[in-house]
Symmetry: D2
Subunit: 113 residues, 4 copies
């Protein structure tokens, strides 16, 4: 995330003295709750529902998920760009292009191909 976005989120938290509530377990719960609010946009919807259909709600809920990810990263002393970079590196090994191209199976199923 851009540093100014992170600063904005942390300032909002600290202006209200909310850091006291932000233990990692409750932050993890919060990420799950916001993820469910985002998923609710698509409950009963066709698989090919476009974002345009519910754009405002998607923006709102996706922002809430990321907001809590920023708070979680801060609580654990992590940098989101760094951990995502490291994960993509590991995924490159788990899902070699040769086996994974056009194939959505999990790496445990890819192994035997």
């Amino acid at each position: 995330m851009k540093q100014e976005t992170i600063n904005e989120v942390l300032k909002f938290r600290d202006d209200r003295n909310w850091k006291q509530f932000h233990n990692p377990k409750d932050l993890a719960i919060s990420i799950s709750l916001e993820a469910a609010e985002l998923l609710e946009v698509f409950q009963w919807s066709a698989a090919d529902l476009t974002c345009e259909h519910k754009m405002d709600k998607i923006k709102e809920e996706l922002a809430d998920v990321v907001n809590y990810c920023i708070l979680m990263a801060d609580a654990c002393g992590l940098d989101l760009d760094t951990i995502v970079h490291e994960k993509v590196k590991r995924n490159n090994e788990k899902y070699p292009v040769a086996k994974a191209y056009g194939n959505k199976e999990k790496y445990t199923e890819l192994k035997d191909k």
Copy 2:
């Protein structure tokens, strides 16, 4: 997110021709699934469990959540920093410092204070 992080995530997807699977509904499902994997770190754990205790797993699962958020943003033509900034602005109105200081109640409960 930093542009290079976003590029890395999108390149991983495109190298494997996986964009065809990434409709918004399935991406929203994926964010929820990864959020649950992160929450599982804290199942049965004490409320004050520190991140250090399970740092590797937290890094991994938090990265997975953010990874799918990047993919969702791309699918919907959104910029994560922009939507988080807009949400913090709206939250500043919903949770005025005067009412929200040290108080974790939702804005619907704050309104009457």
Copy 3:
């Protein structure tokens, strides 16, 4: 649930002296985690994927969700059949047949019809 099913689940818990871990918050977390395991069966799948396709996994994960619901009910002194019955009664008022027939909208949207 049939009383013998409930007894089986509670006996399993008590044989292992696990009731000490079963505070309502962690049970609620567990229900969410198992719900995610069930949802994972359908990640990336077509909307019309039948149960037959992954029946064993569906049985397993759906059973896990219900298992924790039984434990949650026991922790809160509730009877699952009773609370479901009461909820259906309330839903009958929220979603009158005349307005809801063939219509999947939430009651807040139905109100204006």
Copy 4:
């Protein structure tokens, strides 16, 4: 579940001609969404929060989770009591009392004890 509870849930669905929307994937999504509504009761709460504190909300949301489990079981031709019974049997092997007594670790960690 008691047959009359199941009948009540299915009648509610059929009175409104809602079975057409109830494919397994969307039912699995719905179970997750209701599980999140239940978990929300405990967001930011102390680990030892009792059920009494939010009993009405817990009854409501737990009922919603079970309601969708009944609908999922019907969609897949399953009996909830049967699959729970089968799962408890399998768990008895995964978590032998001798190893699992008073121990909340997953069976993969128990194996080496």
